[in-house]
Symmetry: C2
Subunit: 220 residues, 2 copies
Amino acid sequence: MRDTYHEDLDALTARLVEMTRLARHAIARATTALLDADLTAAQEVISEDEALNRLDEEIGKSAFDLMARQQPVAQDLRTIITSLHMAGDLERMGDHAVHIAKIARRRHPDSAIPAELRSIVLEMGHQAELLVIKAGEVVSNRDAETALELDEDDDRMDRLRRKLLKRILDPGWSHGVEATMDVTLAGRFYERFGDHAVHVADNLVYMVTGEKRKDYEQEA
Amino acid sequence: MRDTYHEDLDALTARLVEMTRLARHAIARATTALLDADLTAAQEVISEDEALNRLDEEIGKSAFDLMARQQPVAQDLRTIITSLHMAGDLERMGDHAVHIAKIARRRHPDSAIPAELRSIVLEMGHQAELLVIKAGEVVSNRDAETALELDEDDDRMDRLRRKLLKRILDPGWSHGVEATMDVTLAGRFYERFGDHAVHVADNLVYMVTGEKRKDYEQEA
């Protein structure tokens, strides 16, 4: 009995890691869709989001079963509860990739991103990928030390977003209302994607140490 | 022992209802901040968000304790898990009110909303209040029937947002880049606020019936 139980707990982690893999793929394709006005990539991101939603649901069901059948306490209970939170964050990361893909689809065959902003958006896409890959490693290895790095990695995302907004607000900005809206929202979606990756890492810290990241950081 | 246990379960609900009350107040004040360029209101929304965060944390701790000390199954376990989800949604509703308040603060002493959009934004604010008040009633009364209405109430919010975006994209739109950004983001924050209220209602349906809203709706 205990064996199946621990296998089920491991399966939770495996599903979470799979979600980070899917979320990384989604944001990478969404960035391609956005930068290259690639309609195929956009459609892919939109339709493949279903897989992330399904995994989130599976984790929810599995967590519920584990709690109902067993009487998890302390560490195990924390693992189950934080897994639920992490699944929720990863599911929303998929949603943000979809939002970006939809911007690309709406402007197709034009590109939603003016030429002079392409490099910033590309950097935001890369940073988003880095954040979610790192979140996956951290979850997979139960590595609370590396988890602490994500907050700083995310500062870079926030700096990129501020840079993006500064360009839009520059008196030299000559693009129309649609471009202003698209860039504003895309910037926000990348930022939110990053925030959720940080939440995943924070939850991992709590899962492993039983402490909130900020308290754990002060001691570490 | 069982008495304390059921008191603790009731206390979860009471905290959730209190969160809907705070979230309603936050979004109402945020709308005032936005429409009247009211800096005091904006600051209030920002500083009072702490109360929502604290309640979310308290619900998390209480849920964890309940699961660790008792062995809740079926209905009770569902109540605890869905309470966690609802608290998360309500906490994020507070965040969206804060985002709106920060737009107001950033543009102060100017108003972020051009005169001809004031009525739409006011309607969005009112609809947001209605949604969260209804979510509170539904949670308080464990009323799965009324919970089904929120999805439709939220359609109205989506229509308002589309109306807002249409105005921005109208060739007659004469406002600058800042106004375009502010209105785009404010529209999104109200829409997300509404989405989270629908999630709260959906979770209530699941809490009470053990079925997802869509399945329950087909039978009802």
